[in-house]
């Protein structure tokens, strides 16, 4: 039987709360039977997923959904801006491009899609170590 869990988070950008997303990802990964290295990978991956949607100075909320089905973890993240002034288009110090490279190395699949007019970033990772 396929065991399934879904965790949803909504956290404000600008506060030091991405740590909550990393904690949730680590917990989900642990429940999927990931080993310590895979758990660390998923902690960083969910962080990069969120960061890929945000520009410096952004204000708003990140809505994150973490799903576990047996040994597969899927995470999606959507950013809703509340900024009155559009961000200046700058990413923090040359980090653009690094997120994709990190995600390529750490997860099985990742990408972006449109969801209700908002950009959504997603990833999938399956336990590989027995």
């Amino acid at each position: 039987m396929r065991e399934r869990e879904i965790v949803e988070l909504s956290i404000p950008v600008g506060a030091d709360l991405l740590v909550l997303a990393r904690f949730a990802a680590a917990t989900i990964a642990s429940r999927a039977g990931f080993d310590l290295e895979e758990i660390d990978d998923l902690r960083l991956a969910v962080d990069e997923l969120c960061v890929s949607l945000i520009e410096e100075g952004d204000h708003g909320r990140l809505n994150i959904e973490l799903q576990r089905a047996d040994d597969l973890v899927e995470i999606s993240c959507r950013f809703t801006s509340t900024s009155e002034v559009p961000p200046n288009g700058s990413r923090p110090d040359l980090s653009e491009g690094l997120s994709d490279r990190i995600l390529d190395a750490l997860v099985d699949e990742h990408g972006k899609r449109q969801d209700g007019g908002h950009e959504q970033a997603w990833l999938r990772k399956r336990r590989i170590r027995q």
Binding site: L18, V51, S95, L98, I102
Partner: protein, 110 residues
């Protein structure tokens, strides 16, 4: 993530020390510390020995710092003790860009 800047005048170097997790919220503090240090000292050592997590925003701050150090004719060295942190530098290819040392003693004596 608290950051601390300590200065070693004998060797004309400055050590910028970070602890904990470097992410979107905390990397601006590291950037500020680096900007203050660069230009005042020829050698800048970024001690990440007690850093347990770093993401692309933190890496971007370090890349920007390295660029400014090079433009100023100086040198930057990074200390990494946690293999999880070193892994991020490896998968992004940044081990070929930075001078990375496994201890502060090694970085200051090299």
């Amino acid at each position: 993530m608290p950051t601390d800047v300590s200065e070693n005048l004998r060797n004309e170097s400055v050590i910028v020390t970070a602890v904990g997790e470097i992410d979107l919220a905390t990397s601006p503090a590291l950037r500020t510390r680096l900007q203050d240090a660069i230009g005042k000292h020829r050698m800048v050592i970024v001690d990440l020995s007690d850093v347990t997590f770093i993401d692309s925003t933190g890496l971007g701050v370090l890349i920007g710092g390295l660029r400014r150090v090079n433009e100023a004719g100086g040198e930057m060295r990074i200390v990494i003790a946690d293999p999880r942190v070193l892994k991020i530098f490896e998968i992004t290819g940044l081990t070929g860009l930075f001078s990375i040392h496994s201890s502060l003693a090694e970085a200051t004596s090299a």
